[in-house]
């Protein structure tokens, strides 16, 4: 199977039953993407595929051949942090750190969705020129990413500090 992962072309032999998550973790050593439920309920495995967020546990690797996959390891180079990663540290948007890579990848995908004016269930005005980057929108859109340590306040603060618009 061939993929582009974090900008690098990757070719790997794998069982066709292998999920994208297990491919990353077990075969490619990219253990930054986490397994929390293996059934699409917790969001810890969130990665970006061509810029859109998906649950890697619900994706068979074989389906994603030829696609550009970005994991937590690919958000910044070896020495620096992505601004959202730095904001998570500054705003204490985690405790144990296990759901954190998924929260960060999910938030990046979420910000793109807001940029594209994709509505959510809490969007009051579906005809608005620009959907507000507000507290409820962010919380609703991030609700697929569970944090059992309860760092939700810090996560939202980090997202707002990084992506929030002046209108928020």
């Amino acid at each position: 199977m061939q993929f582009t992962i974090n900008g690098h072309a990757v070719e790997v032999e794998a069982d066709v039953r292998t999920s994208l998550l297990d491919l990353l973790r077990e075969q490619l050593g990219l253990s930054g993407t986490k397994k929390g439920c293996d059934q699409g309920a917790c969001g810890a495995c969130t990665v970006l595929v061509d810029g859109e967020r998906i649950n890697a546990c619900l994706a068979l690797a074989v389906q994603y051949q030829g696609r550009a996959i970005t994991t937590i390891e690919g958000l910044a180079d070896e020495q620096t942090l992505h601004p959202l990663q730095a904001a998570f540290v500054e705003h204490d948007g985690f405790q144990c750190g296990y759901c954190t890579p998924g929260q960060i990848c999910s938030a990046i995908g979420m910000a793109h969705e807001l940029e594209r004016n994709v509505p959510s269930v809490v969007t009051a005005d579906l005809t608005a020129q620009r959907i507000a980057f507000d507290h409820d929108e962010v919380r609703e859109r991030m609700s697929g990413n569970l944090c059992r340590c309860g760092a939700y306040n810090g996560i939202v603060d980090a997202i707002n500090a990084t992506f929030g618009r002046a209108s928020a």
Partner: protein, 758 residues
Amino acid sequence: MNAEQKPAPSQWQPGVTPDEVMHRHGMIGKPVSRLDGPLKVAGKARFAAEVPYEHLAHAALVHSSIARGRISELKTEAARAAPGVILVLTYQNMPRLQNPPLFGSAPKAVGASTLPVMQNEHITWNGQPVALVLAETHEQAEYAASLIEVRYDVLPAKTDFDAAKRQARAPDTILGEPPAIEIGDAEANLQAAAFKVDATYRTPRYNHNAIELHAATVAWQGDELTVHDATQMLNGTAWTIAQLFGIDEKNVRVLSPYVGGGFGGKALWDHQILAIAAARLAQRPVRIVLSRASVFRIVGGRTTTEQRVALGATQDGQLTALIHTGVAAMTPYNACPEQFSFPARHLYATQALKVAQQVADMDMMVNTFMRAPGESIGTFALESAIDELAGQMQLCPIELRRRIEPSKDPVSGLPFSSRHLLEAYQRGAERFGWDQRNPVPRSRRDGEWLIGMGVATATYPYYRMPGAAARIKLTNDGHLTVSIAAHEMGMGTATAQSQHVAERFGLPLEQVTFELGDTTLAAGSLAGGSSQTASIAAAVIAAGEQLIDQLLMLATGDSPLAGFKRDQVEAINGGLAVRGDTTRAETYAAILQRAGRTALQCEAPAPEPAELQHYSMHSFGAQFCEVKVSAITGEVRVTRFLGSFDTGRILNPKTAASQFRGGIVMGIGLALTEATEFDPRSGRIMNPSLAEYHVPVHLDVPEIDVMWTDIADPHSPIGARGIGEIGITGVGAAIANAVYNATGKRIRDLPITLDKLL
């Protein structure tokens, strides 16, 4: 060390002399960002399932589908023949092991139960592992496990709590405390009281559901065993595994530098033991990662309870009777009676007190400690009842608590080491705007939403666990490293302890390293009971005294410190100085360099927690909550929350705020959404997934305000009492009380789901 160089007696005597560091305001109290934060946000912190090994084999489990009986037939041929399969492990080929030493039965015993691990054909709970498949890949192991067929001879099982509680028994102890206490005649006083409440409260089973799945990567090298585990009890795990397998504890190394959430659940369960056995038989390193369903099946959770709280009060709001009794589901094989009666033993002044706890034996996965075991659900019952009493008396519930504030511990009679509950209430009430509450239920409305406010007391004991030691290494560049087999599962252990160590030894943060998570370091105590901060601190004090003695022995000749004893110097500015004359000082680097030493190393155990013999030591708090309840659907939303705490000194306000908030968030789940559904017919857990067990998500959690008194406890190390668990206590009652204020409906049965409000 000769007789003349004998160290001075310990300066810090627990419960007698205060730890002077508690009043320093350098690094302690600074909002330092997590030192391991950059690793965690980059996905570089390596958890137990992520340690690479060559020729790693992957394990998958098969679970019993009955609650009690015996295996009559095991068909494993198809699994053995499946591609990639290395080994199928059942009771028939499992190595013979000792039974686990039960948690608490010996200093380092952490067995979850006394049940043998896959040693025979007997089934004692629905979900018990009956086979383990080892294969070259995860996919092959899972597939092969699906091919195993098991038949059972089924025996009748106790799987109905309502039936089991009719045969409830009093356990020998409740975590070392008597199961029942009676002071005066509480029942008679209740009958004669001017005001009385007498109600039954029910709480369901809960599961920790840390997002990291339980996992271990294990490898044998000859007789030496390495276990990369996700655990909050490193040394206990190593010792207990050694007993099970009949090997020397020194040959077992357990590492757990990062734990992806614990909350009481990351302990020694069957999966590590089975993986270790499989690794030995297969002579391969083995990785086991439980599925989420397996976590529900073989990791215990918080048990179900039925509690009675009865309160009698005089016209002027003095308690004449406080009764808290009830029963928790347990098994004959473990000892976690869910200490829900503990808060009632310490919280309020009463003429007569009656507490009594029983357990009902059931055939189920053994229950265990889950964040504030007992106190979380005990405060739900007790603090709901206090609210009911205040309502009946038409008294502000905070005023009622002011009138029943005790001057000493109601049971032991000991003085409190430090208790500022009323101050926490007052400060919290001001910031929350408690005066905006209308005491008449169902009196605030915004469209379909009924709005209400509630308050409840939070409380959790101070514990300091025995067994911890600290190893200190000081190098001649003035860098100091403290090494303890301590645990990091989100508390910010290394960060807060680095601040503590920097403060205690007068060093900047970058000159300090705190190592944890490995049994080759000095022994740690378990991370439970909100005890780790104090347990580590006491060990660091003891080792630090040795270090200073060693430094002063080196500081001879023309050293400005020559001839001074430990109690005459203090650690400051990267070295030692004479107390009261900081011009007579020498840096650590200078002391070592002059003596021609590259490093000094010492190790010492913490003294026994004698402070608990002198004082009643507890943390306190006031939980304020505002909810809105839909008059149409019964949906409850928490709109505002404030926790005001009195927990001793706070080492790091940034990480502490997160821990308090995290407890409150788990309390929101306890109150509103979470329950492990246990089928009373089959003993099977019916919602073993995060899709059907509803932990709070982003949209369920408002901005949570937290504040604290920051009053140092004069009798604990650094003045700190531990903050991991108190956040969840009182939350259930604060929400239930707010729901009552909003709707006029008193829900005494958790979780408060919308069907109960329609």
